[in-house]
């Protein structure tokens, strides 16, 4: 992947994470807590959560196995970065709060993967339909 593609991916994923964090906050956090500082905190969280994506960068083509391992490393890093930041800023204090927050991160991570996969499935269906037409014309 070229560096420009990596930056493009960073920006795209940043907004997905930020959007999902805001949606999650609106559903979970009391309305009076969501102020300018809270949104700034969320923006910082989204940026930090996006940084571990660098583990997917490679000069050569990654094998499926390598991608799966990198996905696991990516998730562990993501959890570590966000939980550390949440601890430092006092966003979570108790062990239960950390556990609940870690669970929230897991849910958001899985949601992003699921939404991406659904989009890819729709794209694959369109491609398959065109491939079928393509072959019908040929035969």
């Amino acid at each position: 992947m070229k560096i420009l593609d990596l930056i493009r991916q960073f920006i795209k994923e940043y907004f997905i994470i930020f959007g999902l964090l805001i949606i999650g906050s609106v559903l979970i956090v009391p309305a009076e807590t969501i102020n300018r500082d809270y949104i700034l905190l969320t923006m910082t969280f989204a940026a930090l959560g996006d940084l571990p994506s660098i583990v997917f960068w490679s000069k050569s083509e990654l094998t499926e196995e390598s991608r799966h391992w990198r996905s696991i490393i990516h998730f562990v890093l993501l959890e570590a970065v966000i939980l550390s930041y949440a601890g430092v800023t006092g966003f979570v204090n108790k062990i239960e709060e950390f556990a609940f927050f870690a669970l929230q991160i897991l849910i958001i991570y899985l949601l992003v993967r699921f939404i991406t996969w659904r989009g890819d499935l729709a794209t694959a269906n369109k491609i398959n339909k065109k491939l079928k037409n393509f072959k019908n014309i040929d035969s």
Partner: protein, 145 residues
């Protein structure tokens, strides 16, 4: 190398004859250039040299600085670089699927998303080739999507 042109009558078939004492790399390269203009590639398998039609190619793959031609059941080595093949195949039904592969669209059976975030194409011979996310728009554009 001496180059001669012989004029022929309109009803005769045009022909290129290479006269050489040995088929060396220079001669093979020259043959490659002439044949790719006519959708023919030169494939190497052991000590044998084969003429391959582009339409019989399933995909090209670059492995450790060597380029291989994958047909239905056979694999041949190719002396051309992947970027050269990309140029040859540019206006044909081929697309760059990843840094290391060029795939013949006509030989794709179907496409599905892979769990790793890429796309997996199943070829007509059952082989699976991965398509990187950044090359999917190229496939879509070749299909008119």
């Amino acid at each position: 190398m001496k180059i001669s042109i012989e004029n022929i009558t309109a009803h005769e078939e045009e022909e290129v004859i290479i006269r050489c004492y040995e088929v060396n790399d220079e001669i093979l390269e020259l043959m490659n250039k002439l044949k790719t203009e006519r959708n023919i590639l030169i494939g190497y398998n052991g000590d044998s040299i084969y003429q391959l039609n582009l339409s019989s190619v399933y995909y090209f793959e670059s492995v450790d600085n060597k380029v291989f031609i994958y047909c239905r059941n056979e694999i041949y080595e190719c002396k051309q670089k992947l970027y050269e093949l990309e140029q040859i195949c540019d206006h044909r039904r081929f697309f760059r699927a990843s840094k290391s592969t060029i795939v013949n669209i006509s030989k794709i059976s179907h496409v599905k998303p892979s769990l790793s975030g890429r796309f997996e194409t199943t070829m007509e011979n059952g082989e699976k080739v991965l398509v990187s996310r950044q090359y999917v728009p190229m496939l879509k554009s070749k299909l008119g999507l």
